[in-house]
């Protein structure tokens, strides 16, 4: 396994913390063929030193579609040694029309020692002014996810599939979200991974004959990839919330008393979500994704009528998921409405 020090080389040129701005200015002044573009501050926070290389690549991928100032923060708190911060600058450039480079800058920080509370100051001091702050918090929500930090975040990304204690972290997230100081919109990659699955499932119910079957549904079966049970449960919660159901054990109970049994199982493939089927005794509505395919097949099977449709599948990488979400900002997210039901499903799932 490569050491942290050897991974640091991907971060570009190391500069003294107090001279980050000067280094950035020199970076842009060095080559007139480059255009700097920035529509937002995009920060990635992590505490896992092995993620440095991957996160630099993620920022490079995101900047292909969304010009930003990238901030990569690796926090290694250790109360036994005094805090120390190192900084690097680099740029991610894309060729435009084969001639000019359009570049986004990346500033990386390694925060070692101390209690880790220097995160706030490090972020605050290096934001591109007047631009929104998009913050991707990787891993568990630790004590460093505090009000002073999240009060400056406009858009927060988390990935609940990486949480060691989903019930606890969902609680922290909801608690933060309802604070007066919090003004962030939150997006969970586990939720984004089901975006096109949900769209495809919704398309199955576009005609009146299919809608009439809604009140006869009695089971939902979801197949997910290893490590993505939360994404599957979020999908089940979405079905429940949309049908105004309540959770009772591992079932959804609709207002009319109709019971839908939830069956969530792990599949053999690697895709986070592989299949979902809503069924009654006489009809089924399903979305299937073949391994490796960029499309899903949405199918409707009713006694006198059946059809299939090919629709886009959810995007394969975290960077693509985030880039796609940033392209459709302004859309009201249903995610926060799902979390309370998800917590009930997690409790029943335990």
């Amino acid at each position: 396994m490569p050491s942290l020090e050897s991974n640091l080389s991907v971060l570009g040129q190391e500069v003294p913390l107090g001279k980050v701005d000067k280094a950035l200015k020199e970076l842009w002044g060095a080559d007139e063929a480059r255009d700097k573009a920035s529509l937002m501050n995009f920060a990635i926070y992590c505490e896992n030193p092995e993620s440095l290389v991957n996160n630099t690549q993620l920022l490079a991928d995101i900047t292909k579609e969304h010009a930003c100032r990238g901030l990569l923060i690796l926090n290694q708190p250790n109360g036994e040694t005094p805090p120390k911060t190192r900084a690097w600058v680099t740029a991610h450039c894309q060729l435009l029309d084969g001639r000019k480079s359009v570049c986004s800058e990346q500033v990386s920080f390694l925060l070692e020692g101390g209690t880790g509370n220097q995160v706030r100051n490090t972020v605050f001091a290096h934001l591109d002014s007047d631009l929104p702050l998009v913050f991707w918090w990787q891993g568990d929500l630790t004590v460093n996810f505090d009000e002073r930090l999240y009060s400056v975040i406009d858009l927060l990304f988390v990935d609940s599939s990486s949480w060691s204690d989903p019930k606890g972290d969902f609680g922290k997230l909801l608690n933060a979200h309802c604070q007066d100081a919090a003004r962030f919109h939150v997006y969970d990659l586990s939720w984004l991974r089901s975006h096109y699955f949900r769209t495809a499932l919704a398309s199955c119910f576009n005609d009146p004959l299919a809608l009439a079957e809604l009140h006869k549904l009695n089971r939902i079966q979801i197949t997910h990839g290893p490590g993505h049970r939360v994404a599957a449960l979020l999908l089940a919660a979405w079905v429940g919330v949309r049908l105004k159901a309540t959770v009772k054990g591992s079932t959804l109970v609709l207002p009319e008393g109709q019971v839908i049994k939830i069956d969530v199982k792990e599949g053999k493939d690697t895709e986070p979500l592989q299949a979902v089927e809503l069924a009654s005794d006489t009809a089924s509505f399903g979305v299937d994704r073949a391994c490796g395919s960029s499309y899903v097949c949405a199918s409707v099977n009713m006694p006198d009528h059946s059809h299939e449709q090919i629709l886009p599948a959810d995007l394969p990488t975290d960077a693509a998921l985030i880039a796609n979400l940033l392209s459709r900002l302004g859309r009201k997210s249903l995610y926060v409405q799902m979390v309370p039901m998800l917590q009930e499903l997690l409790a029943a799932d335990a």
């Binding site: 255009d35 573009a37 529509l39 900047t63 292909k64 579609e65 969304h66 010009a67 894309q94 435009l96 029309d97 359009v102 975006h195 096109y196 949900r198 769209t199 495809a200 499932l201 919704a202 398309s203 199955c204 119910f205 576009n206 005609d207 009146p208 004959l209 809608l211 009439a212 809604l214 079905v239 949309r242 049908l243 395919s293 960029s294 499309y295 949405a298 009713m302 006198d304 009528h305 059809h307 449709q309 090919i310 629709l311 886009p312 880039a323 392209s327 459709r328 302004g330 859309r331 009201k332 249903l334």
Partner: protein
């Protein structure tokens, strides 16, 4: 039953949702279908934006099978699709493409089409909406409308809608436009009639309203107190390649470009804020602009305010070009203009006294469509400088290519002296947003399927625009003395008379 809403659909709120439908394209073997319509539908499919159980039927006179038509469309899609071509997706999308052979005036052909659409509905298990796209030559519009009416296809089955999309040109003068509107109105309600102007599907054109009404800094300045002039340029560096001369020589720059595309851009720049973003609220304001245009009547007024010209031999991009009258399929004695420049006034409170200059032409040095808003010279004190055009603020909307917006402003030159120089702030879509914009036809087809007519021209817009254009055409073709047909060498920025049009007002065309 149909009143029950799909409870799962709420996640799709930000995008226009096309309603289940079959699209019928008249003139399906033509260039537009190959290069634009099928690739646009394919790209909508790739984005998951097509409705379930979607079908498209090509209607044309040539003998073809479904399979043969699909193969042709697949080849075209490989060449023209914005997002490339995916065999897996095409395998599914291609199956929704069908072909129906018929003459445009053959009622039995339409009855056959109706039967085919009814069969699709039977397969679906429910009737679907119908969108008829007129991509045929305009001389067939009458026949197609009549046959749609005679066959009953103008009414959707089982309470579903039937809509029609009309490609340009929508008439060649006010009389023919009114006639077409009458014919269409006998067949479809105005709310189901979508007159396409693909300029309105372009990202920057849509952004004009956003820039004006979503940014507080512009609208207070958007009037004759602060704006000195507006220029709209639509330059093309092509001539009559690909046999275009045949059509173009019957139309000319004024009818082909000004009546539709440029007037739409003018409307977006000059309109008052709409009360809402509904189709009619926006179009109400746009049509007021066209109605407020000061009409140029008679040879004298037209000569003074409108310059027409034809290109002579020259060179563009290093290649030799023949003159307009020597072009393929162009009448050697043609009096059709390949270039027109206009001085316009919008006689409203907001724009009183502000000239809107327009120019559009073929064989100009480069391809560019831009709108520039020129602000007045600021008070001279404390920076007493000569009145140089370069010192004024200019806001530019680049419609194509290199879509974006720039703002020119004054800045102090570094140094001990107080010297000023104009600098440019530039926003480019391609730099700021890595994601490619959808093609105009994708947006417009989706809107037509979703029932949003905001980006389509309404009957009164079209007729008012023709009423303005007709006055000029009448002066150009009047008995006796006519305004001159000026000349410009291919590869230049137009005739010197067009420069003089602005020089009379102490202005120059903006350098592109």
């Amino acid at each position: 039953m149909s009143d029950i809403e799909n409870p799962f659909q709420e996640t799709l709120i930000s995008r226009h949702r096309a309603e289940p439908c079959t699209v019928v394209i008249f003139g399906a073997t033509g260039d537009l279908t190959h290069r634009k319509l099928i690739p646009a539908l394919y790209n909508l499919a790739a984005g998951g934006d097509l409705p379930p159980q979607f079908k498209v039927v090509g209607f044309a006179r040539r003998d073809k099978t479904d399979e043969g038509f699909r193969t042709e469309m697949e080849e075209s899609n490989k060449k023209n699709s914005r997002q490339g071509h995916d065999d897996t997706l095409w395998a599914s999308f291609g199956q929704c493409i069908h072909y129906h052979r018929s003459e445009f005036q053959d009622l039995d052909g339409y009855k056959g089409l109706k039967k085919l659409l009814d069969e699709f509905d039977k397969e679906r298990g429910a009737p679907a909406n119908r969108l008829f796209y007129l991509a045929s030559a305009p001389e067939f519009f009458d026949q197609i409308m009549l046959m749609l009416r005679e066959s009953g296809l103008n009414e959707g089955p089982g309470g579903k809608w039937a809509r029609v999309v009309c490609e340009k040109p929508f008439g060649k003068d006010l009389k023919s436009a009114r006639h077409l509107n009458e014919v269409v109105a006998e067949t479809f309600d105005e709310k189901d009639t979508y007159r396409i102007d693909h300029y309105l599907g372009k990202e920057t054109a849509q952004n004009i309203m956003v820039m004006r009404f979503a940014n507080h800094i512009f609208e207070p300045l958007w009037n004759n107190r602060f704006i000195e002039q507006v220029q709209i340029t639509c330059a093309e560096n092509l001539g009559m390649e690909g046999g275009r001369g045949g059509y173009y020589d019957t139309a000319g720059a004024l009818r082909d470009m000004v009546q539709n595309h440029l007037f739409q851009l003018l409307s977006l720049v000059a309109m008052e804020p709409p009360t809402s973003l509904s189709a009619d609220a926006v179009r109400d304001e746009k049509v007021k602009v066209i109605r407020s245009l000061r009409k140029w009547k008679g040879v004298e007024e037209v000569s003074k305010n409108v310059i027409r010209a034809q290109y002579t031999a020259g060179s563009v991009d290093g290649a030799e070009r023949v003159g307009y009258r020597q072009e393929d399929r162009v009448n050697p004695q043609s009096m059709t203009e390949s270039y027109v420049a206009l001085r316009l006034f919008v006689d409203t409170w907001r724009w009183q006294g502000v000239p809107f200059y327009m120019r559009v032409g073929k064989q100009l040095p480069k391809k560019a469509t831009e709108i520039s808003v020129h602000f007045k010279q600021p008070p001279q004190v404390p920076f007493a400088t000569a009145d140089q055009g370069g010192s004024r603020n200019v806001l530019v909307f680049r419609i194509q290519p290199d879509e974006g917006i720039s703002l020119r402003m004054m800045s102090k030159l570094p140094g001990v002296q107080l010297l000023m120089q104009p600098v440019k702030m530039d926003f480019r879509y391609s730099t700021s947003f890595g994601k490619a914009s959808p093609e105009a036809y994708e947006r417009l087809l989706l809107d037509a399927m979703a029932g949003d007519a905001t980006l389509f021209a309404r009957r009164d817009e079209v007729e008012n625009a023709w009423a303005f254009i007709d006055e000029i055409e009448q002066a150009w073709h009047a008995e006796g003395a006519q305004p001159p047909m000026c000349e410009y060498p291919a590869g230049s920025w137009g005739p010197k008379e067009a420069d003089q049009l602005l020089q009379e007002d102490g202005r120059v065309w903006r350098r592109l």
